[in-house]
């Protein structure tokens, strides 16, 4: 499977974005639902309308349940239904059950048309023939709005949904791992914004215990987030798990540094680190229990959510850096795919193309703290100004590697995360944890 490393293309795209994106603007509070409804109506009225009419067609969409993303997509789907005459029903399950649910359904008689597929099991699904190729639709002008094609997507992200030369999925939910920090506390104590991870640790040590706060919160539960943080740190060191041919390239010294950071950070984290998922880490920051948070940008939407946070507006964001001047992060995304057994591939493609396009992604971006995967998402100045994490994310994605999506990753990821947890518990040193990771990768992928 080809691994995308088109750094030049990424840099050019991000340079274009950098010209248009600005720092966070203080936007007046507006009714979110009214603004979103207006945006959707505008989308339908203009050239971003869905392509095709599918009266009487019924589609079943499988995804993880969680708001605001699921509710927003359901609202969007109703708009699409109205425009095309089709109907979409949602089969939303908790994330930890999604892979099994999809596998059992796709292995059996089927029943899903549209699937939200995580990179860690995309390779398995593509290899098992569960997914329908969409290259013919993506390359056919009649199936897309005027001017829309594969080139409309950020190439490094779109290529992650390809397998053996065919495109299977369209991406969205672009995000990464960043450091969120309490700018008010940093100002109060005269500290400059954290830059390298060494300064993050020093600041965490400084804040730990002050006013009942922990220094830093980060995810420690083995649900994929540890792997995301590790991949981001490896990217910051210029390393990755495997190369274009699928052979392992993990550098033990780099992995040792990354694990050592986790061990050191755990000393300044709230109790319960090994039981904390991304949402728990973000909530610790949102409720004033931690001065800094390392987590995914979608989970960090809790920091400025008035229904969850007592620290709204007090956060700034910085990318992960090991060496100063080289920010990096893992390119996190999800894939929208179509089931191979779906009898409604054309209708399903129409929804996926419309939903992953910039205007629709803009409707979820602000509430969900995610970014789209199309170039036109990054030209919407109004939306970009409302995404406080965006400058940090842009900087991180300048040196990024994608979430692993090889078939073997579903067994490698739990082993890697277990090694990190054991290192945090003191059962392994950072070096021995890195050695175990290398051994697992060599065994599964070959050196």
């Amino acid at each position: 499977m080809k691994i995308a490393t088109n750094r030049t293309i990424r840099r050019n795209v991000l340079a274009t974005v950098a010209c248009t994106a600005t720092a966070v603007a203080a936007m007046p509070a507006v009714s979110a639902s009214a603004a979103l409804a207006h945006q959707r109506a505008s989308n339908l009225a203009n050239a971003n309308a869905p392509v095709g009419k599918f009266p009487g067609v019924h589609l079943t969409l499988s995804r993880w349940s969680g708001d605001p993303w699921t509710s927003e997509q359901q609202a969007a789907a109703k708009q699409w239904d109205k425009a095309t005459g089709a109907t979409i029903t949602f089969a939303a399950v908790p994330y930890e059950n999604l892979k099994t649910q999809q596998t059992l359904t796709l292995s059996g008689a089927g029943g899903y048309d549209i699937l939200y597929v995580h990179p860690s099991w995309f390779g398995t699904f593509a290899k098992s023939g569960f997914l329908a190729p969409i290259s013919s639709y993506l390359n056919n002008p009649a199936d897309n709005p005027a001017g829309f094609s594969a080139k409309s997507y950020l190439p490094s992200v779109l290529s992650q949904g390809a397998y053996n030369g065919s495109q299977y999925c369209l991406p969205d939910f672009v995000s990464t791992i960043v450091v969120a920090y309490r700018k008010d506390l940093f100002a109060k104590y005269g500290l400059s914004a954290p830059t390298t991870l060494a300064s993050v640790l020093a600041d965490a040590k400084f804040f730990n215990g002050k006013n009942g706060m922990a220094g830093i919160a980060l995810p420690g539960e083995a649900t994929g987030a540890i792997s995301d943080v590790m991949t981001s740190m490896l990217a910051a060191e210029g390393n990755y798990w495997y190369n274009k041919t699928g052979k392992t390239t993990l550098n033990v010294a780099d992995a040792t540094n990354a694990v050592q950071f986790y061990i050191n950070a755990s000393k300044y984290a709230p109790s319960g680190l090994l039981d904390d998922a991304v949402d728990d880490a973000a909530l610790a920051g949102a409720t004033g229990k931690a001065a800094m948070v390392i987590s995914t940008t979608p989970s960090l939407s809790a920091l400025n959510d008035p229904t969850k946070s007592t620290t709204v507006g007090k956060w700034s964001f910085a990318p992960i850096e090991f060496a100063a001047g080289r920010p990096a992060g893992e390119l996190i995304y999800w894939n929208w795919c179509i089931a191979a057994k779906s009898p409604n591939v054309a209708a399903a493609y129409s929804f996926l193309q419309w939903y992953t396009n910039g205007p629709q992604q803009a409707t979820i971006a602000v509430e969900g703290s995610t970014a789209g995967a199309t170039n036109n998402f990054y030209t919407d100045k109004t939306v970009l100004a409302k995404l406080p994490f965006l400058p940090a994310m842009q900087a991180a994605l300048a040196h990024s590697n994608p979430q692993p999506s090889i078939p073997q990753w579903s067994t490698l990821q739990p082993e890697i995360e277990s090694d990190v947890q054991q290192a945090i518990e003191g059962k392994l040193t950072a070096k021995s944890a890195a050695d175990e990771m290398k051994q697992a990768l060599d065994g599964a992928l070959g050196a």
Binding site: L104, S107, D275
Partner: protein, 298 residues
């Protein structure tokens, strides 16, 4: 004679007719799938290959268990869980049931209240205890702040505390089952035995040890049998709260078999683990049933 033989034959046919639906259900829903699982455990296959051809592996899946360190950890955790949790449930069950027999007014109300945890589904019980164990907001951590411990206690994220934490949940939820069985047993003990003991000068502790417990032995074995089988196969509470973590500190055999099949998709190996669990539960329950038979209960 012929008439009686005909009556007997008719009676047998009637008995078979009544048994047939139960036997059909047993064969179709339990025995059949068990045999099929055992057959599939001889193949190496993934969950994505349900409808595809599978590669025959013989006893390779069973041989792999001998070298599986994580299985060893799961078995060790399960055994510790069974021994500690069931022992405590047994002792608490006897003590509380004994106390309930001493109550004359309000016994029914007290029994109903004590039984409440048992009627909560395990998933709901797990979610309740997730809040109790929360290191920032949970009841236990908040209570500890009254004693000056400000940092909260991390039960579910601690490799040392997570298994005792699950034992506490199990004891909270299933001691009422032991209480129920023992209370019924104690209330059926002839009062004359206790009167004779009291006349001989026996105190409450002596009566409990020398009369109540020996008479209750069949009930004790029944509780041991059911609770051992249930605790050994425990899955739902651990799946909801930690999924075997942190690391493998709360990994149990039931959860491990599930993860092998539905997380890692090693379905052939998962089925072999299922057979392993079945065999071990069969051995344990056979031992208990043999003890029960010696008591001439059956």
């Amino acid at each position: 004679m012929r008439a009686s033989q005909r009556r007997r034959a008719r009676s047998h046919r009637l008995a078979y007719a009544f048994l047939t639906p139960a036997v059909v259900v047993l064969l179709g829903l339990i025995v059949g799938p068990l045999v099929y699982s055992a057959l599939l455990s001889l193949y190496r296959w993934q969950l994505t290959q349900i409808n595809s051809s599978k590669s025959y592996a013989g006893v390779a899946n069973y041989r792999a268990m001998l070298h599986d360190g994580l299985l060893g950890t799961a078995v060790r955790n399960s055994v510790i869980f069974v021994v500690v949790a069931v022992s405590i449930e047994l002792v608490l069950g006897i003590l509380i049931a004994t106390a309930l027999t001493e109550i004359t007014r309000g016994r029914h109300l007290a029994t109903s209240l004590i039984l409440l945890p048992m009627i909560v589904t395990p998933v709901v019980a797990a979610l309740i205890w997730q809040y109790i164990y929360n290191p920032q907001f949970g009841t236990i951590s908040q209570a500890l702040t009254l004693f000056g411990h400000q940092n909260g206690i991390d039960v579910l994220g601690s490799a040392q505390l997570v298994l005792p934490g699950f034992m506490l949940i199990d004891i909270w939820q299933w001691t009422p089952f032991a209480i129920l069985v023992f209370l019924a047993g104690m209330l059926s003990v002839p009062e004359e035995l206790y009167e004779a003991a009291r006349v001989d000068g026996a105190g409450k502790a002596r009566i409990l040890w020398s009369i109540t417990i020996p008479v209750l032995m069949p009930q004790i074995l029944v509780v041991l049998l059911f609770r051992t089988m249930d605790v050994y196969r425990i899955f739902d509470t651990i799946y909801v709260l930690t999924k075997g973590g942190p690391g493998a500190a709360s990994e149990t055999v039931g959860l491990y078999a599930y993860q092998e099949g539905f997380t890692y998709f090693n379905t052939g190996y998962s089925m072999a683990l299922g057979v392993f669990i079945l065999v071990t539960v069969f051995i344990i329950s056979s031992a208990y049933i043999r003890l029960l038979r010696r008591r001439r209960v059956f």
